[in-house]
């Protein structure tokens, strides 16, 4: 630490309060999770985590979240592009409503999507007539996770596109590059880093999501049961160690996703500096 006297007052007070509060609300409760699983023994831990129903739950949560994050990446780039580059009626409104999934409680989103996509729902009616089962299925889970993930990619790419210098595009166009080629070679490299961040945030959010999914999923064991629900049902049976083991693996996986993405980001920025 620096030996020079701090001019601005309040360091001890604000730092002290921040650390105490952080410990009480976040760090101590989180450590309870680690302590609990530490007292469990490896055999028991593995038997819970490697149980077929648990593994299937992981597969559903991670798989559906991955697909939803891909869908959101594609539409996120298109939406950000349209909002930054074009002018059209109701643009302010469209821009404003993108954050709805952040503001709308997950349970409300859940019952609304379930009603819409069930057999008698406005959209479900159409899909079911084509034989597409849009609720109580994996597709339903993907729909719900797509809904809650919409803002992540749009909001990470939008500011980057806004700051993008038009010169390079113009130069590329003057040198005879097609629009598609310009996009792939000039614009895409600029937005690939925020795209990855947005993808990672949407993916991590989707893996842990509960409220919006639990209604539309139908929760059939070995079919549409998501990992957070497995934790929930273990808790309802007062099987705290079971819930902890499943949670620990999920937590580890989420941190790994964010860590890998941060790593790629860091590597990329270092590459650019050279």
């Amino acid at each position: 630490m620096s030996k020079t006297k701090r001019v601005i007052p309040g360091f001890r007070l604000t730092m002290g309060f921040s650390l105490v509060y952080l410990s009480l609300i976040v760090l101590i409760p989180l450590s309870a999770l680690v302590i609990k699983s530490g007292g469990m023994g490896l055999d028991k831990f593995l038997s819970i985590v490697l149980n077929a129903r648990t593994l299937h739950g992981y597969l559903v949560s991670f798989g559906a979240a991955f697909i939803a994050a891909i869908i959101n990446s594609i539409f996120g780039v298109i939406l950000a592009w349209v909002l930054v580059r074009y002018d059209f009626p109701f643009k302010r409104f469209i821009d404003g409503i993108i954050d709805l999934p952040f503001a709308l409680p997950t349970a409300v989103a859940g019952i609304s999507l379930t009603t819409l996509y069930s057999e008698n729902g406005w959209i479900g009616k159409i899909l079911y007539s084509f034989g597409i089962k849009s609720s109580f299925s994996i597709l339903g889970i993907v729909i719900a996770l797509t809904f809650i993930g919409i803002p992540f990619v749009v909001r990470t790419i939008q500011p980057v596109l806004e700051d993008l210098d038009g010169q390079y595009e113009e130069a590329a166009a003057m040198l005879g590059a097609s629009r598609l080629r310009t996009f792939c070679k000039v614009i895409f490299p600029e937005i690939s880093a925020p795209l990855l961040t947005g993808f990672g945030l949407a993916f991590a959010r989707g893996v842990g999501e509960y409220g919006s999914v639990v209604f539309i999923a139908g929760n059939l064991p070995m079919k549409t049961e998501i990992a957070p629900l497995l934790i929930m049902s273990r808790l309802e049976q007062y099987d705290y160690s079971g819930a902890t083991a499943i949670a620990l693996v999920m937590l580890g996986a989420s941190f790994l996703i964010l860590f890998v993405i941060n790593g790629i980001q860091l590597y990329n920025s270092k590459l650019k500096q050279i």
């Binding site: 360091f11 309870a32 999770l33 580059r85 074009y86 409680p105 964010l258």
Partner: protein
């Protein structure tokens, strides 16, 4: 903007195609669900709607939701200001670590957020004896709900104001301090005017999220009607009892709050852009 130079080679077909795709996607994914909530809520008439939202259990759930939201928002606002002050106005080791730890609750599933409080204060925890002896109930009671709500909304205020205070630097505060102003006055007169809108938005976001939290609260609540039920949990119970109109009626209250949040967000964004 740079529009004149940019759109020279832009294909009209591509432009309207992309706008079309965007609008179709948003109508399908956001606007139809929003309309459906209102339509379902009013499906059995206005009388049923009024009855559902003025029902005794609904009012009790609303009361608990408001208490939890108020406490979580106040606590997280105080924390947000303190931690932002520490991070942006001083140099110290471990600053990046502190910044990462603030964001931790974002990366944690709501269900796991509830679970950690059950493990900390529930049966079999190291605190169990002390809590039982003093007759304190945290899990499956109101304190647990408040704690879980604080946890899931933990980073919101800090996240909004840290970038603003960072951009502002420390020169003005240093000058004021050297002229003898105390910390509270420096914050109130110099820092606050610059971060006002960001702070307001962070507080609104925190409150909105606190009101709507479902997963974490669901784990710690114990689902006791009229006692430990918040509005989102009440919606779940009504829905599972096939009282769809009542469930959507209660949901519509939260929709109105969500729409207000969105409008405020846009106002705040517009104000900050204007001031820059």
């Amino acid at each position: 903007m740079k529009k004149t130079s940019m759109n020279r080679s832009e294909n009209k077909f591509l432009k309207y195609g992309l706008i079309g795709i965007s609008i179709f996607f948003l109508i399908l994914m956001l606007i139809i669900p929003l309309i459906s909530i209102i339509s379902e809520a009013l499906a059995k008439g206005f009388g049923v709607y009024i009855k559902a939202i003025s029902d005794g259990y609904t009012l009790k759930a609303m009361n608990l939701t408001l208490i939890a939201t108020l406490i979580a928002t106040i606590m997280n606002t105080i924390f947000g200001i303190c931690v932002a002050w520490t991070i942006t106005k001083f140099k110290f080791r471990g600053k990046n670590l502190l910044g990462t730890l603030i964001d931790l609750p974002f990366a944690i599933s709501p269900v796991i957020a509830g679970l950690i409080f059950v493990l900390t204060f529930g049966k079999g925890s190291f605190l169990e004896n002390i809590l039982v002896q003093n007759n304190i109930k945290i899990v499956f009671a109101i304190p647990g709900i408040i704690l879980a709500t604080i946890f899931v909304t933990f980073p919101f205020v800090a996240r909004e104001i840290i970038p603003l205070m960072n951009a502002q630097g420390t020169d003005e505060e240093e000058a004021a301090a050297m002229m003898g102003a105390n910390g509270f006055n420096i914050f109130r007169k110099i820092t606050l005017p610059n971060i006002k809108w960001g702070l307001i938005y962070g507080v609104i976001l925190c409150a909105a999220r606190a009101m709507g939290e479902f997963g974490a609260v669901s784990v710690v609540s114990g689902h006791i009607r009229g006692k430990t039920n918040t509005l989102p949990l009440h919606i779940e119970i009504l829905y599972n009892e096939y009282q769809f109109s009542a469930a959507f009626a209660v949901a519509s209250i939260l929709v109105i709050i969500a729409v207000i949040v969105l409008i405020l967000r846009n106002i705040v964004e517009w104000k900050t852009k204007k001031e820059v």
